[in-house]
């Protein structure tokens, strides 16, 4: 292939990178500025005297640790439970012949077509009836099954060679053992990718925690840090950006370490983080 001197490619790509990254940079810059500098009329694209003041105030004024813990418990709980329900159902659809299989499969997959907002009011009423407001189960349980997960894993389980499972079963393994000792390990890559997608999705949830976690000790990161917002005009931008910075760190770390999984599953699944 001949190498064209495509001079326009790099400027376009650099421009796109800047457009994508500058909001996060502006967040970082603000987090390190002193209040005096943030509210001064002069404009400086970097902090004059970088200070930890905003971070100190965040740690002092709000239970950041608790918000982290809540986000982590909710995201991990949803991810694990969704994986479990998806693996079990996908195995049944992929490897068993049973009455009603096609119809049931359609019913499972069709749940992907129902936007959460359309059904959130009755779900909220259910959670209220259970007295699950401001509890982990209230935050987690409505999200622990995924039509998409069932659908994706069934595809993988179906294409997995039957010889292996047959061999396992001839060796005396039950279906249950075959699932966990042969099918799941052999599809580890797909399951990991799905887990990463589920985790990002759950970690970034906002609408549902906003409804269910009304008390501060149960709030997740994106809901909790809004304590710094004051609609009457007294928003504390420094601490807000410092807490936003802290809240983004886990997502960025996950992205750096699981980038291949994230990019590949994003491309093959059509699901966005």
């Amino acid at each position: 292939m001949r190498r064209d001197p495509h001079t326009w490619a790099h400027p376009v790509l650099v421009g796109a990178c800047v457009a994508m990254v500058f909001p996060m940079l502006w967040m970082l810059v603000t987090a390190w500025k002193s209040p005096a500098e943030i509210y001064s009329s002069g404009f400086r694209p970097w902090p004059a005297n970088p200070t930890l003041e905003n971070f100190v105030r965040v740690m002092r004024d709000v239970p950041m640790g608790r918000f982290f813990l809540n986000s982590l418990v909710v995201a991990a709980g949803i991810t694990l439970a969704r994986l479990l329900t998806s693996i079990l159902a996908a195995y049944a659809f992929a490897r068993f012949a049973f009455w009603g299989r096609e119809v049931l499969f359609y019913l499972f997959v069709a749940t992907m077509l129902v936007p959460f907002q359309v059904i959130m009011i009755p779900i909220f009423l259910t959670i209220t009836t259970f007295d699950w407001l401001n509890t982990y189960q209230g935050l987690i349980v409505p999200h622990v099954a995924s039509g998409f997960g069932v659908f994706l894993l069934r595809q993988h389980f179906k294409t997995f060679p039957l010889d292996f499972t047959d061999a396992a079963r001839i060796d005396g393994a039950t279906q249950w053992q075959t699932l966990w000792k042969v099918v799941v390990p052999s599809n580890a890559t797909a399951i990991w990718s799905l887990a990463v997608l589920f985790f990002i999705d759950a970690w970034n949830q906002y609408l549902w925690p906003l409804l269910v976690a009304t008390e501060r000790p149960m709030q997740t990161l994106p809901v909790g840090i809004q304590i710094f917002i004051n609609p009457e005009g007294g928003t504390q931008w420094g601490p807000l950006m410092a807490s936003a910075t802290l809240a983004i760190v886990p997502s960025i770390l996950l992205y750096v370490f699981a980038q291949r999984h994230i990019l590949e599953s994003a491309v093959s699944s059509g699901i966005r983080g």
Partner: protein, 316 residues
């Protein structure tokens, strides 16, 4: 991911295991259903039942807390026909979809074409950076943009003043507020569409483009007559995903930036159910809107799945 992505059609199925486990015939028949129970219970309780209940609630007038609901028949639906908030929301949502179709199709495609000119590690770095907003939570992103849009100390206000203009209040301007929301949504989805386009472009056999070049076709000609037609499945996928998911993506920036204001000017189908249900406590009205949105977008979703069914597929 294997070909025939959705696998929704019954199609010829592979030979399946007939249950022959210890435990006899009864267990053999029941086993698959037992595997399905956990997911089925959750989906029934938290998708299907609420869907039915939403339809039911749409026939009542209720304020979410009162012990009694008043049956009003189709009154909530009739009200929608003349509701200004609802039609503003429809118009704003269509506006958002159109704007995003341009911003998140033409622009990412151009950048993806540029990315293919670059080889090796450099391309991977560009791709990683451009994709990065996708993994940031939309709520955190919206909080950052709330600060950027701040009419006095915000980044945009500073830049506008630097070039001698007046700072303007994006979020309280009835004309601009919806655009502020659209911009955040476009920023957040750009990188995803970019990655999809890169994958789509990579899946086009090089020989076809090289053949066109050898035949003397120029850069633009090759793109217009070879690349673009072959990219159609990818483009359709991106368009339909935008169409289908735009209303859902609009909720978070709307809730954080404008709450649908000023005076409903930036309300949209992503936010209006929340607003009617949990801000003004008109549950029946909110449910009627939910039903309307569901029916409308079911049509798009079915189109979407039909398309995938035809075997459109992507490899990273």
């Amino acid at each position: 991911m294997p070909k025939g992505v959705t696998g929704l059609s019954a199609g010829p199925t592979r030979p399946v295991l007939r249950s022959r486990d210890a435990g006899g015939r009864g267990w053999a028949v029941l086993a698959p259903y037992v595997y399905l129970v956990p997911a089925a219970v959750v989906l029934a309780a938290f998708v299907y039942w609420p869907l039915i209940e939403t339809v039911n609630l749409s026939f009542y007038e209720w304020n979410l807390v009162s012990p009694s609901k008043r049956f009003v028949g189709f009154a909530n639906y009739r009200e929608l026909l003349t509701s200004q908030a609802f039609w503003t929301s429809v118009v704003n949502t269509i506006l958002a979809i159109l704007a995003m179709s341009l911003a998140t199709i033409a622009a990412p495609l151009a950048v993806a074409v540029a990315a293919l000119r670059v080889q090796g590690v450099v391309r991977l770095i560009y791709r990683a950076v451009i994709f990065s907003p996708t993994v940031v939570s939309m709520a955190i992103a919206s909080l950052i943009w709330l600060w950027i849009y701040n009419p006095i100390q915000g980044l945009i206000a500073h830049l506008v003043r630097l070039v001698g203009g007046q700072g303007f209040a994006w979020l309280t301007d009835p004309q601009l507020a919806i655009w502020a929301i659209i911009l955040v949504t476009a920023w957040k989805t750009f990188g995803y569409n970019f990655v999809i386009f890169v994958a789509g472009l990579l899946s086009i056999p090089r020989e076809l483009m090289d053949a066109a070049r050898i035949d003397g076709a120029g850069e633009w000609h090759t793109f217009r007559h070879v690349t673009w037609p072959l990219l159609t499945p990818t483009t359709l996928f991106v368009v339909l995903t935008t169409l289908m998911l735009a209303p859902q993506y609009l909720f978070i920036p709307t809730q954080i930036l404008t709450q649908g204001g000023p005076n409903q000017a930036s309300n949209n189908l992503g936010y209006i159910i929340w607003e009617q249900g949990f801000e003004v406590f008109r549950v029946g009205n909110a449910s009627a809107i939910a039903v309307a949105i569901f029916v409308g977008f079911l049509a798009f979703s079915v189109m979407h799945f039909r398309l995938l069914e035809r075997g459109v597929h992507y490899e990273a």
